[in-house]
């Protein structure tokens, strides 16, 4: 029995956008989300402002949720995990599991995997950054949560930090760790957070230690240049090798590569710009749906660049950070593309059948 329903797995920005798109053009959609709420990483991680323009994350994402909830063609399943994908393109059977009830199944003609990413765990870094050792070493998402609470304090002593630095490329571009790719968003996010810090703590001094600043497209003029020219954030080329305790502060050591000299700078707060990895959900869904993953675990899109959302399995599509590092703009763009591809697939099947 073929079905004209599309299953969207994952309720973050990509899944929300895909579900909206499918329902908007008149198809039924089942949106499955493991958490008991929609919104994905921006909500789970308490994001403060969205790139590139810094709009508040929570209300922006809520708007998307409201659009999805308002459409009667959409069925949302919260607190629900996919545990099996059976059948074939046009007639998949998806088995769902919730904590409370027995497993249940539903039929769908196409699947969109929107299961996103996880932040890199800095405990796995080859560098000695001491994330689990020093309370004042935090990550970008930790800082997002602090910014959202409007309380940026040094975790060690509750004081307002005066000197704050970001260390780029933590867990990215690293053969030893296995993540050879650039995570694409961390340069922009660091600059965005640095700007937000300077606005919230005008007396703070903020530095960003980097290998290359990768501010593609409008991020250059919308994020990077204002951060430097208006908010006086100091960009220093050369990564930090190690973080050492020095009294009640942290000494960051590295090489200033343009000066060709070693640097040792005292900091109150060190922010690790952790990269993106495929989320456990992305790895699970790839396995359950039987789609090919690349060597890093992200879902492979063999038709890229002109078809960046189709997987190697007919009727199964993916979007956003399930496919590789992506910011929110990239994610919703590819989600809209995946929605169009999925519905297009179902309709062309129906037409072929009628003939």
């Amino acid at each position: 029995m073929s079905s004209d329903t599309v299953a969207v797995i994952g309720g973050g920005p990509g899944g929300l956008r895909a579900a909206q798109g499918i329902a908007d053009i008149g198809h039924k959609v089942v949106l499955v989300e493991k958490q008991r709420y929609l919104g994905g990483s921006p909500i789970t991680q308490k994001y403060y402002g969205l790139t590139p323009r810094g709009e508040p994350a929570q209300p922006q994402i809520q708007q998307q949720i409201d659009l999805v909830m308002a459409n009667p063609l959409t069925e949302v399943r919260l607190g629900t995990e996919v545990v099996a994908v059976d059948g074939e393109a046009g007639a998949f059977t998806i088995t769902l599991r919730t904590e409370a009830a027995r497993d249940e199944t539903f039929e769908c003609g196409a699947i969109i995997i929107a299961t996103g990413f996880s932040h890199f765990d800095p405990g796995r870094s080859t560098q000695m950054y001491g994330y689990f050792e020093f309370p004042d070493v935090i990550t970008q998402p930790d800082l997002e949560a602090m910014l959202s609470e409007q309380r940026v304090l040094r975790p060690s002593n509750g004081e307002v930090p005066e000197r704050i630095c970001f260390i780029q490329c933590v867990g990215s571009r690293d053969r030893q760790i296995g993540n050879e790719y650039c995570s694409k968003v961390c340069c922009g996010v660091a600059s965005k957070e640095a700007t937000e810090l300077r606005e919230m703590l005008p007396d703070s001094k903020v530095l960003i230690f980097y290998i290359d600043m990768r501010m593609y497209g409008y991020w250059e003029n919308e994020i990077y240049w204002p951060a430097q020219e208006k908010h006086h954030i100091q960009y220093v080329k050369g990564l930090i090798t190690e973080v050492l305790p020095k009294g009640d502060r942290l000494l960051v050591r590295g090489e200033d590569t343009t000066m060709g000299r070693p640097m040792e700078v005292l900091m109150d707060l060190v922010v690790l710009s952790v990269g993106m990895e495929p989320s456990p959900g992305t790895r699970d869904l790839a396995r359950l749906a039987g789609v090919r993953q690349n060597k890093y675990g992200f879902i492979d899109a063999p038709g890229t660049p002109l078809d960046p959302v189709s997987t190697d399995r007919e009727g199964v599509f993916a979007c956003g950070a399930a496919l590789g590092p992506a910011d929110i703009e990239d994610t919703v763009s590819s989600a809209a593309g995946a929605a169009m591809k999925a519905v297009g697939y179902l309709r062309s099947r129906a037409v072929a059948k009628a003939n």
């Binding site: 530095l207 600043m213 020219e229 100091q234 070693p262 640097m263 700078v265």
Partner: protein, 435 residues
């Protein structure tokens, strides 16, 4: 590193001695701690926005902080070619704690503007340097030789400290009458603003006399101010003496208002720059030309009397070319001279290499010498000699003396240095005067 189950930070150990292996003898040489430390790179610890904030507080100083370190400026910086200075480097030094106000780097920039030409972030050293230098004037770090020129300019109205009464002395031996407006204030077409080096420097005076003969032969109605003329002081402005410049503007505007002239023509690209950029911003607008722009349209009317049989190369003045976009007028004149073949240097036009005289560099030769391996003028003369030219022709009054000295210093005594107007004058004379 883990020590007995505890994480202990490594402690930096300062070496008391170091051993260096000679690359020639292979022997090992021990260095004591004092010398050893001189070979160790100094650790940078002082990162912050404070230096930029102090400079940005000075009007014009805002853009230093905008540098994103691409490095396009350094290879085109004339000073970096003979030393260790460049806008990108300066940005990093200020970011890592160097106090520009008291640093030697403050006085090395010649305001040639080649960095700004290539800078994607529009970091404007032509605004930054005068602003910071002005702030430095109140301290005691202004190089003495530059301070001396500021004082001469203030007292005498010219950078050479000469008596203003001798302003027009060069004209006595020009061989043609030179009209001085104070004596004959009737309306005139061209007012020649002679400026300091054509007025007082012996080689500049040669060029002034050549101009007098050529202009007269072409029937141009022209005159000079004579003793009433003071320098317009654009290089003093770029060297930081904004107050002096403003006073000179008022002086010059008052003097110029007394006379009825159509156009103001100057041999000095720095004066030309002031007249076309600084004066209008202060409410004084003139129809200003560099002398090559006056003569280039008249080149067809020149009656040549001889062929010179010379291979020449031309040095673009920064403040005529790159700063004000005039590359063709001097070349039109050079190429019109019978028997003259123009060969270009590798760095010419927009990418012309600075003679080292701009932005106060004219008066900082010994200071700059202490911080560079060679004078910019020497570097330029070697480039000129490589073209195989007999003559290095110029059209900025700073350059004849600078390049003549540089030619001697670099062993290129046979490279003749002269102003374009001198070659024109030479090719217009009858063949009997033995030149």
């Amino acid at each position: 590193m883990p020590v007995g189950g505890r994480k202990v930070a490594p402690v930096a150990v300062e070496k008391e001695t170091a051993t260096v292996t000679s690359t020639i003898s292979g022997r090992e040489v021990e260095l004591t701690a004092r010398w050893n430390r001189m070979f160790e790179p100094r650790v940078l610890t002082n990162y912050g926005p404070e230096g930029f904030a102090a400079i940005a507080a000075l009007p014009g100083g805002e853009s230093l902080e905008w540098c994103y370190g691409c490095g396009k400026c350094v290879p085109v910086c004339p000073v970096d070619m003979v030393g260790d200075y460049g806008p990108r480097k300066l940005h990093r030094k200020v970011q890592t704690g160097t106090e520009l106000l008291t640093d030697a780097d403050l006085w090395l920039c010649t305001a040639c503007g080649n960095c700004l030409r290539v800078c994607p972030k529009q970091v404007d050293m032509l605004a930054i340097m005068p602003a910071v230098r002005e702030a430095a004037l109140s301290g005691s770090t202004v190089p003495a030789e530059l301070q001396d020129v500021f004082e001469k300019t203030f007292r005498q109205g010219n950078a050479l400290g000469q008596s203003q009464r001798r302003r027009a002395q060069w004209a006595d031996s020009a061989g043609v009458p030179v009209r001085i407006l104070a004596k004959n204030p009737a309306p005139v077409d061209v007012l020649l603003y002679v400026e300091d080096y054509w007025s007082f420097h012996p080689r500049g005076q040669d060029a002034a006399r050549a101009f007098a003969r050529v202009a007269t032969a072409l029937g141009i109605d022209w005159a000079i101010l004579g003793a009433e003329e003071k320098t317009l002081g654009d290089s003093q402005r770029l060297a930081g003496e904004k107050g002096l410049f403003e006073a000179l503007v008022e002086d010059a505007a008052t003097t110029l208002a007394k006379y009825d002239f159509q156009r103001i023509v100057t041999p000095d690209p720095h004066a030309f720059n002031a007249l076309v950029k600084e004066y209008p911003a202060r409410g004084h607008s003139y129809d200003a030309l560099h002398y090559t722009q006056l003569l280039a349209p008249l080149v067809g009317q020149i009656r040549w009397t001889r062929e010179l049989d010379l291979k020449v190369t031309f040095h673009d003045p920064c403040y005529l070319g790159r700063q004000n976009g005039e590359y063709e007028a001097p070349r039109t004149l050079i190429e019109a001279i019978p028997g003259v073949q123009l060969v270009e240097m590798d760095r010419c036009r927009q990418n012309g290499y600075c003679c080292g005289g701009g932005g106060g560099g004219m008066w900082l030769d010994s200071f700059t010498g202490d911080h560079t391996t060679e004078r910019l003028s020497e570097r330029r003369v070697r480039e000129a000699a490589q073209t195989g030219a007999d003559v290095l022709v110029v059209c900025c009054p700073y350059e004849v003396s600078r390049f003549t000295d540089a030619a001697k210093a670099t062993g290129h005594e046979d490279l003749r240095v002269c102003d374009i107007i001198e070659l024109i004058d030479e090719a217009m004379r009858d063949g009997t005067d033995g030149v």
